[in-house]
């Protein structure tokens, strides 16, 4: 299996002679299968559920979805990699698997350190105030209380939550989705990650915040990290990533420089 993994999707030979780059994420022929519960269209009544248990039939409500089919790639230190593809192509699944949140059916994913996944839906603690979230998030990432104290103001300033008044002392459930996403990104970006996975988190912020976070992503890369970015916003991919991977129906279509891949991708979608 492993020898099929050197992807040559574009028929490009391995002619590079540059120095050995340090790999941070190695994805080796990965297959991911979801088991979805409660997907059946059958009768959901208690009696039918009971008769299923008695007859020991497997619930028809469990269906398998083969979301990623044999993807392989390697990313290196200091890279920012964009993931593109239509809705349901398996981009977010791929990120969750790199973060170790989804088991692989076949193949393996090797990473340097613990990747952090920033998703739109990854709410922190909604009933707690913004400043509690900042402190708890930093402590959970393993910072010491002194470090948290030192970084706290930077994080709040970066998020821009307090630009329109004292919002940081309000519970997070009162935040708009954009504000919550900004605070989450600011918390996660406060620490240097070996691998940072961002799932459309920037799409919710406003123009000013998007620019700020793009700057922060560039900084993170300089600090010897790798950033993965999933987005439907082609411009934000162009601005932040120099390498892009195009995934369609769970398979890798193209892996190359953002310029080349974007051109093909946009041609295919017109």
């Amino acid at each position: 299996m492993a020898d099929t993994a050197t992807t040559e999707t574009r028929g490009v030979g391995m002619t590079n002679t540059q120095d050995a780059r340090v790999p941070t994420v190695v994805v080796d022929d990965v297959h991911i299968v979801y088991k979805v519960h409660g997907a059946g269209s059958g009768k959901g009544s208690a009696t039918s559920a009971l008769s299923r248990i008695i007859s020991k039939k497997r619930s028809p409500a469990i269906r398998e979805v083969h979301a990623v089919r044999g993807i392989s790639f390697t990313s290196y230190r200091g890279e920012a990699v964009g993931l593109i593809g239509s809705n349901g192509s398996g981009k977010s699944t791929m990120l969750a698997a790199i973060a170790g949140l989804l088991p692989t059916e076949r193949g393996a994913i090797y990473t340097n350190g613990q990747p952090s996944l920033l998703g739109v839906n990854a709410a922190l603690m909604n009933d707690l105030t913004g400043d509690r979230n900042v402190i708890l998030g930093c402590l959970a990432m393993g910072m010491s209380p002194a470090e948290v104290k030192a970084r706290y103001q930077d994080i709040v300033d970066f998020s821009g939550i307090n630009e329109k008044g004292d919002f940081i002392s309000l519970p997070m459930r009162t935040y708009s989705s954009g504000m919550a996403a900004r605070l989450r990104f600011s918390i996660a970006a406060a620490k240097t990650h070996d691998v940072l996975l961002i799932d459309e988190a920037l799409a919710t912020g406003d123009q000013k915040f998007q620019r700020r976070s793009e700057d922060r992503i560039r900084e993170l890369r300089k600090e010897a990290g790798t950033v993965f970015l999933v987005s439907h916003n082609n411009n934000s991919i162009r601005d932040t990533c120099e390498r892009t991977i195009w995934i369609e129906k769970g398979e890798l279509v193209m892996d190359g420089s953002t310029e080349d891949v974007m051109k093909e991708y946009e041609n295919a979608n017109h």
């Binding site: 050197t6 190695v26 393993g142």
Partner: protein, 306 residues
């Protein structure tokens, strides 16, 4: 169009690494399989490094519990106070406080209820600790055992508040005695037991969401067989020896007895609390604590998946 990147395969390792399979490449640079469970001692170290998180999380949660109520934090004191008032009304006034326990029945009862509630709510919140915090688990990386432990700490803080209320009430009727100090080691042992139980239930609850529905019934059964409202030893006196031993070993009864003995020793004659009760309490704390922790750690990589 012939940019430089055209001739570069972005995935293929360059230079001296050319030709390595992904697996060899990962091994060479010490990459590990994503989402792999850390070794036991490393896990304990990581957890110890998160001790500040556990305390801060527990405190924040405890405070947040009453943020929607107008009286706010006053409820932390008011809830145990009202509990005692209800028990006094029902058992002290309506039923005249007559029981085999004697004059201290109300205090004896309140202690029992608070101590049992500590175990009960640790189990309940432990069961939900993973499934209720998926957002946190999926967004940030930390040893997951921090969550059930934090929820046990919340329950401990709540019990301590209740205990203070209780001590104030009891102090009206009797002077503090030396036996009050026995409450501290007894509570520590119960903490160990509860943490282990919460960890074990967290793993079960994370996999089987049906447990959250079933737990209230199991816990109610446990409560009635533990003798929260009556002296269970008297009730099982005529049972076969096997069952008598079983009831004596019940961890909830053991911890309740120890703490009751500490606060109202008058309710017990001297030989009612032989030293082996302390041994049982210690054994439960160590066995449940260690077993629960190992059981939870064994599935560490699976929490938050799906």
């Amino acid at each position: 169009m012939s940019t430089v990147s055209d001739s570069v395969n972005f995935s293929a390792p360059g230079g001296v690494d050319a030709g390595l399979t992904p697996k060899q490449l990962a091994a060479k640079y010490g990459l590990s399989v994503s989402g792999k469970r850390p070794g036991f001692s490393q896990y304990v170290r990581e957890l110890w490094a998160r001790r500040h998180f556990i305390v801060a999380f527990a405190t924040a949660r405890l405070v947040a519990q009453y943020t929607t109520a107008k009286l706010g934090q006053v409820w932390q004191v008011l809830t145990p106070l009202l509990n005692c008032a209800v028990f006094y009304l029902v058992f002290g006034v309506m039923m005249n406080g007559k029981n085999e326990v004697g004059d201290d029945y109300i205090a004896w009862l309140c202690i029992g209820v608070f101590v049992f509630q500590f175990s009960q709510s640790a189990v309940l919140s432990g069961t939900r600790s993973i499934s209720d915090n998926l957002g946190l688990i999926r967004a940030l990386h930390f040893p997951r055992a921090a969550l059930p432990i934090a929820f046990t700490v919340i329950q401990l803080q709540q019990l301590l508040i209740s205990m203070v209320v209780l001590v104030v009430i009891v102090a009206f009727f009797q002077l503090p005695t030396m036996t009050w100090l026995l409450v501290i080691p007894a509570l520590l042992l119960q903490c160990g037991f509860n943490t282990g139980l919460a960890l074990a239930m967290a793993r079960i609850g994370a996999k089987t969401s049906d447990m959250a529905q079933l737990m209230p019934f199991l816990l109610r059964t446990w409560m009635y067989t533990s003798g929260v409202m009556y002296s269970v030893q008297g009730a099982v006196d005529k049972f076969p020896t096997f069952f008598r031993v079983l009831f004596r070993l019940n961890p909830a009864s053991v911890y309740m007895d120890l703490i009751r003995y500490g606060f109202v020793p008058n309710a017990y004659n001297k030989d009612a609390l032989p030293p082996h009760v302390w041994l049982i309490a210690l054994a439960w704390a160590v066995v449940a604590g260690v077993a629960g922790f190992v059981f939870f750690w064994k599935a560490e990589e699976e929490y938050g998946r799906g």
